[in-house]
Amino acid sequence: MATAKKARAAKADTAVRVRRVRAADIPQVIGLDTRVTKLAKAEYWNDVFRRYGKQRLQERFFLVAEGRTDGADAHVLGFIIGEIRAWEFGSTPCGWVFALSVEPEMRLQSVATELFEAISNEFKKAGVSKMRTMVARDAQLPMLFFRSEGMMAGPYIQLEKDLD
């Protein structure tokens, strides 16, 4: 079944389950990311899976949301990745979310909210009480989403410079 068709079929069945990523999900993760960013980066995602899907799982969380279309054919509707980092920039341990993506046809169906809540719970279970992310100022969609989930500006300001 084509990806868009699968997403539409999953839309009809709104049951979304969030679980840890599996190796078999990675081609779908790559496909979703390619559709959203228009940039295929299979090597990057395979490396992310190796680091965040298989190692130090007590502090690294690569979660996928799947929708069941016909009872057996699970399809990845979105994913979120984060980890607990400590002492960088002088910060006490906190959860960092560094990737979130949802199938465009499945947006406004609470898939991202399910993923966000799932990783929040994982962070809490792991013992941290704060989570952070970083969003480009002009990336309105993720900015609006994270704001709607209650995230506010934190105590850090990101700085950068052009290297001549």
């Binding site: 002088g90 910060s91 100022r137 002009d138 609006l144 709607s148």
Partner: protein, 151 residues
């Protein structure tokens, strides 16, 4: 950052109107809560009406209803009806753009960019959540946690 009184009133009015689905309030009812004159608030509502954010309901028991999409309308959409928030050239008062003047403009533009990004990232629906959380007595952010100095 300071917002004009009209901007603040507009945001308060929209928050009142979106407190419940289809809520309808008169200018007098909103003005009473915030202690402002109906005359001033009527001007604010008129501006928002022209922008399509609110609609006037005529007749007995009339008033205003929110006419936008609370999940898509941001604080920036409301604020820029009443004040200049686009990229403005900061005028230091000197005719010639000296290096000092240019450097100061760069810093002030950075502040403006952050302010616009913040206002543009918070929808009316998100503001309602913040208001409801405050009303329930929660949502106080810790001011004690600051990043340590990395030496």
């Amino acid at each position: 950052m300071r917002l004009q009184i009209s901007t603040r009133l507009a945001i308060f009015a929209v928050l009142e109107l979106t407190a419940r689905e289809g809520r309808q309030l008169s200018v007098a009812e909103i003005g009473e809560k915030y202690g402002v004159s109906s005359h001033h608030l009527a001007k604010v509502m008129h501006v928002m009406g022209r922008a399509g954010l609110v609609r006037a309901v005529r007749g007995a028991g009339g008033g205003y209803q929110f006419a936008g999409n609370a999940r898509r309308t941001t604080l920036l959409d409301v604020a820029q009806l009443f004040e200049e928030l686009s990229s403005v050239e900061h005028d230091s008062g000197t005719a010639a753009a000296t290096p000092e003047d240019q450097a100061l403009r760069e810093v002030l533009n950075e502040i403006d960019d952050i302010a616009r990004a913040t206002l543009g990232s918070i929808t009316i629906a998100t503001m309602r959540k913040l208001v409801d959380r405050r009303a329930a007595g929660g949502g106080q952010r810790s001011k004690t946690e600051m990043p340590g100095r990395r030496i």
